[in-house]
């Protein structure tokens, strides 16, 4: 499963993968952009941990910044900041929110 995630993550790095119009994986959000969590790619321990930290469907996540080497990422969830590896963020599908909605 881990290997699979890694694979996804690599695919995600090369080009933003558009799942549907206006949808991205969390790792492809640009700093400052906000997205609403709509679904997850897969289950397992990482998903569970995301859940523990409150990353679940319907939540709004803001990409705060990337680490200097572009991995991990810093996100803002309900005012709390969380750091997450790119490969982990690739599990989360988000719907990009326009600035007006934010």
């Amino acid at each position: 499963m881990w290997g699979m995630n890694r694979h996804r993550h690599r695919a995600g790095v090369t080009r933003p993968r558009v799942i549907q119009e206006g949808q991205l994986i969390l790792s492809d959000l640009r700093p400052g952009q906000k997205g609403k969590v709509i679904s997850f790619n897969g289950n397992g321990p990482v998903r569970r941990r995301l859940m523990d930290l409150g990353i679940r469907c319907g939540e709004i996540i803001e990409m705060v910044r990337l680490a200097p080497l572009n991995d991990p990422l810093e996100i803002n969830l309900n005012g709390g900041h969380i750091t997450i590896r790119r490969s982990e963020a690739a599990l989360v599908n988000v719907e990009v929110l326009g600035d007006s909605q934010a």
């Binding site: 881990w2 998903r47 569970r48 680490a67 200097p68 900041h81 750091t83 590896r85």
Partner: protein, 718 residues
């Protein structure tokens, strides 16, 4: 007072909830650190007398949940289930109420007597966040207390609430059941009915909680509950039916569905009790991070901070270390002057006093390093350090936080290995600890200085630098190999909080430093001392009585001036020469010397002569002892001045080539860490890994030196 009633209170809460500051405020310095049985998870226990009660406080590891997946969560859960504390205080960071209540609901379901502690109350007041405490208490069915742990405010009322609860138990509070929404609640209710009726389940915990865990597919609870007995068949059937139903109606894992339900319940509470303004409580922290984790400035600032801690630990720490050194030296001389020269005086002076010295000499390093680490952790910068370094350390299969122990390894492996305690995952800790000794510590430098000085002249600096580089390369290689073999990359997620920056408090930092120093002296000091005495004995016995020359007689003759006299200076020189010859013969004759000679066949393919081989054995005491042992073996005495030794080594008669010298430096870099390091590894991660580390490094050292020496000879460099 013997009539004091005993009460056990456990502290549970998320990481970064300020649980430790509450614990410190409650217990002061009356605490000790141990490990939970069988795992490398720290258990902090403290005591407090309060209103005639004798209270034992246990600080459980910080967790977000109570599943059986991570050792931390397992330990916390087992403690609550098995040890049944009278009261659990749930410490909550008031600023992240929603996430915290996720754990709270699980504690409620487990049926513990709960006091909810809204910690860091001052922060939400400043941020303008409002929490309706009375309503929260009503909804949770538990007393709620506001505290400011860093200032110790509110901890008395926390204890009072806990005592009231311990006396009256569930009678005064009723926890409304956690609701997962109508669909799931039905399943939970059915299952919980079956659990109550099932004989195997009695005593395992609250039926409702067990039912939820069974739905989640918690393997440990399954093993515990689904044992042969009355009603277990019904339970099995109901469980299978419920799971099949869930599978039909949703596409998520049951675990996730339960989780969602729990969050739904928490969200309901939050709506009723929390008023959040639009301001971001992370505003100041975010501004600070704009600089501290900036794309360009982040690394330079990080390295400056690391450099400061490193310098403070090892350069500033050098002063007290020198004082300890000279103090021990003075004491040794004083005792040697008082006692008559026998085996016993030698044991006391060189064995025991020397051994104690070798234990406390690390103390300044440990105190200063853990001061630095406490500052990093309490201020919130440690999480940023992990954020910055994770990409690089992840390449080695490690966590961003592994960087600090590795860096400290360049100063000394002992504090470096202890610093690995900041890592939560046991697997990351083991891998980090195995790699730390490969970082070239400062005790190896004197050996490099000697051999590079003797054989590489102008390029000595580059040669020494290459040692540090080779250590890092060896660590990378080892990490890659271990990761592919016995320590596979875990699926443990990296995801973690970046807490807001906070001003560390003096008290918590002092307690942290005190903890570590006590831990070191208490748990490791004794073993290091014993090991030092054993090593002393191996170097002292068996006593040689017959020497090639009757040194003592000659020296006595010289001293009494009974021989044909030269001038006084000549005579003193002659005495020193004879004493050096004598100690060289003694060392050769001792067990250590014999062991050294026994390993000669193993080290001669590496181009080492017998003196170099023998000197490696006492190098196990501390790697810089290689130099003083060579001094003794070359009849120079334990000289501080390596100039003379350099001359001797360089002498063509010795047959040491620069290639062999380089191979020797590689060997000293990589071989078995010193006794103190080995003891600390044993204490931190156990016998198995201690042996693994020792043998692995011996193989690494021999292999490395062999490749360099024989390969170099093939290429015609020898």
């Amino acid at each position: 007072m013997t009539d004091a009633k005993k009460i056990k209170i456990a502290l549970a809460g998320n990481p970064n909830s300020g649980k430790t500051s509450i614990f410190n405020a409650l217990t002061g310095a009356h605490q000790k650190v141990a490990n939970f049985p069988g795992v490398t998870v720290e258990k902090r226990i403290g005591h407090r007398r309060f209103n005639g009660y004798d209270i034992t406080l246990v600080d459980l590891p910080g967790t977000y949940s109570l599943t059986a997946y991570s050792p931390d969560e397992k330990v916390a859960r087992e403690f609550i289930l098995e040890e049944k504390p009278d009261v659990v205080i749930n410490v909550i960071d008031s600023g992240s109420l929603e996430r915290s209540l996720y754990l709270t609901t699980q504690l409620i379901e487990m049926g513990v007597d709960l006091v909810v502690d809204l910690n860091m109350w001052d922060e939400i007041c400043e941020a303008g966040i409002e929490i309706d405490v009375d309503k929260l208490s009503l909804l949770l069915g538990a007393p709620v207390v506001k505290t400011i742990g860093s200032r110790g405010q509110g901890v008395e009322s926390l204890l009072e609430s806990a005592l009231v609860l311990a006396q009256n138990g569930q009678k005064i509070h009723h926890h409304p059941p956690v609701s997962y929404g109508p669909a799931l609640d039905d399943l939970v209710n059915q299952l919980s009915g079956c659990v109550s009726a099932c004989s195997g389940c009695s005593g395992c915990g609250q039926p409702r909680w067990l039912a939820v865990k069974l739905l989640e597919g918690d393997q440990e609870i399954k093993n515990k509950v689904l044992v042969p007995g009355n009603g277990v068949r019904e339970l099995h059937e109901t469980l299978d039916k419920s799971l099949a139903h869930l599978k039909k109606t949703t596409r998520d894992d049951p675990e996730i569905i339960v989780s969602e339900g729990r969050y739904g319940y928490v969200a309901g509470i939050i709506r009723e009790v929390l008023k959040r303004p639009l301001t971001d409580r992370m505003r100041i922290s975010t501004q600070a991070d704009n600089i501290l984790t900036h794309r360009l400035l982040g690394y330079p600032i990080f390295f400056i901070i690391m450099w400061l801690i490193f310098e403070a630990t090892f350069v500033l720490g050098q002063y007290p270390m020198d004082w300890i050194d000279s103090g021990v030296g003075w004491l040794q001389a004083a005792v040697a002057g008082i006692l008559p020269a026998t085996i016993w005086s030698n044991l006391i002076v060189d064995g025991i006093i020397g051994g104690v010295g070798s234990v406390i000499v690390f103390l300044p390093n440990i105190v200063i390093l853990f001061l630095g680490i406490a500052l990093l952790e309490d201020s919130g910068y440690m999480a940023r350090a992990a954020f910055l370094m994770d990409r690089l350390m992840h390449f080695l299969g490690l966590h961003g936080k592994s960087f600090i122990p590795m860096l400290m390894g360049f100063g000394c492996s002992v504090p470096g290995i202890m610093a690995a305690r900041t890592l939560e995952s046991p697997r990351d800790r083991i891998l980090t600890i195995l790699l730390v000794p490969l970082m070239s510590c400062s005790a190896r430098l004197p050996v490099y200085l000697l051999f590079a000085g003797a054989f590489f002249g102008a390029t000595a600096g580059t040669v020494i630098f290459s040692m540090y580089l080779i250590g890092i390369i060896a660590a990378i290689a080892m990490a890659r190999i271990l990761q592919k073999t016995i320590l596979p990359t875990e699926t443990t997620p990296f995801v973690m909080e970046l807490p807001p920056y906070r001003m560390p408090t003096g008290k918590s930092i002092l307690i942290h430093m005190w903890d570590r120093s006590k831990l070191y002296l208490h748990k490791m000091g004794g073993v290091i001392l014993i090991a030092s005495v054993v090593l002393w004995a191996l170097g002292y016995f068996p006593r040689k009585t017959e020497f090639s020359i009757a040194y003592d007689t000659r020296i006595a003759q010289l001293q009494s001036g009974a021989t044909e006299s030269g001038d006084a200076a000549d005579m003193a020189g002659e005495i020193a020469r004879l004493e050096n010859l004598k100690s060289a013969e003694e060392l050769e004759y001792s067990y250590i010397g014999r062991l050294g000679e026994a390993i000669d066949p193993f080290v001669s393919p590496l181009g080492f002569n017998w003196q170099m081989g023998v000197a490696l054995v006492p190098g196990f005491i501390a790697k810089e002892v290689v130099v003083s042992s060579l001094g003794v073996l070359y009849q120079m005495g334990e000289t501080e001045d390596i100039g003379g030794l350099i001359e001797v080594l360089r002498h063509p008669e010795e047959g040491i080539t620069p290639l062999a010298a380089y191979a020797y430096m590689i060997f000293v870099l990589l071989y078995t860490p010193c006794i103190a390091t080995v003891v600390v590894i044993r204490k931190e991660i156990g016998w198995k890994w201690m042996w693994f580390s020792t043998v692995m490094q011996l193989i690494l050292a021999w292999g490395g030196a062999f490749i360099i020496y024989q390969g170099g000879k093939l290429l015609g460099w020898g």
